[in-house]
């Protein structure tokens, strides 16, 4: 496997996991777009172009995984708040379970430290 393949794979994995990271940010509370973008941006390696989060949020809404409400803000324009729907909670839980198994398995083999852990 060439190095380019590995980078490409990681890009694909990041793309695939990103929607679930967004759902996870909304697990316990409503958030507005800028807040979601900021929280994702604070973690290194998650998002390169912040603007691409908005098409993603739009897609999640059309898929019925999140719903939105507009709220006035004391400063600046009205804000669109995102919250999980029941389907969103289900999708997140299903992914979280599988991800734990998968990431644990990968970590078991290639993670640092004792591989027999």
């Amino acid at each position: 496997m060439e190095q380019g393949d590995a980078l490409n794979l990681l890009t694909q994995m990041r793309r695939g996991a990103l929607p679930y990271c967004v759902l996870a940010l909304l697990r316990d509370e409503q958030r507005y777009g800028v807040e979601i973008v900021r929280l994702l941006g604070e973690v290194d390696g998650m998002v390169t172009s912040e603007g691409t989060i908005y098409p993603l949020l739009s897609r999640l809404r059309r898929q019925g995984l999140v719903e939105t409400t507009w709220r006035e803000s004391t400063a600046g324009p009205p804000r669109r708040y995102y919250q999980l729907t029941a389907a969103g909670h289900q999708a997140l839980d299903a992914f979280a379970g599988e991800w734990e198994r998968f990431s644990g398995a990968v970590e078991h083999f290639i993670g640092e430290g004792d591989p027999k852990r």
Binding site: G51, P55, G76, R79
Partner: protein
């Protein structure tokens, strides 16, 4: 308009043209979201000097990247949606066609079956081979069998013991032909429905 406002408008203009292939409602939503993002983010900053604006726009990424991300979901989502519509059509239009092939000739003597054949050949669901099978196996569908039953019931004389006195051998041949036609028609109807479902999947 200040120079920094101009930077923002230029950015949004680029986004609008990059997103020109999106459905207009989706494009408008995207533009509003990005504009709001810029406004809110700048309101958190000390001021909206040129450096602050450039930083916000840099972090957003290029308008082309954003538009591409918005467009990928179109290419990913559209085929399943088309399939879903196609699947629903099997339930209505194609089912009517197949049922008419079978019994159309009985409900509307002769004409019903002709209508069914027209529907069959007009449909994009089946291949030419499917359409030939649907048409030739067997013309009239169940009409032949039902016609035979009506005819024999009306003309033959059957005693209570079950023996019929009408021309025995030709009745037997006609009954056999009717049954073969009926079995063939039902088999080809099942086949057409199966093909329709397959084409929709």
């Amino acid at each position: 308009m200040t120079a920094t406002d101009q930077l923002i408008e230029d950015y949004l203009g680029r986004l609008e043209s990059a997103a020109s292939t999106l459905p207009s409602a989706q494009r408008a939503e995207l533009l509003t979201e990005i504009r709001t993002h810029i406004e809110i983010t700048l309101s958190h900053e000390e001021g909206r000097g040129e450096a602050a604006v450039r930083t916000v726009l840099d972090r957003l990424g290029t308008p082309e990247d954003i538009a591409r991300e918005a467009g990928t979901d179109l290419t990913v989502e559209s085929p399943p949606q088309a399939t879903a519509t196609g699947r629903r059509r099997v339930g209505a239009f194609d089912l009517v066609t197949v049922i008419l092939l079978l019994v159309g000739g009985i409900v509307l003597p002769g004409l019903g079956w002709v209508i069914a054949v027209v529907l069959l050949w007009a449909s994009a669901r089946w291949t030419t081979r499917d359409k030939l099978i649907g048409t030739l196996v067997f013309p009239g569908g169940l009409t032949a069998l039902v016609g035979f039953l009506l005819f024999s019931g009306g003309s033959s004389q059957c005693s209570p013991s079950g023996s019929c006195t009408s021309s025995g051998s030709s009745v037997g041949v006609a009954l056999t032909l009717g049954l073969v036609a009926a079995a063939g028609s039902i088999a080809s109807a099942v086949y057409l429905l199966h093909r329709a479902q397959h084409a929709a999947a």
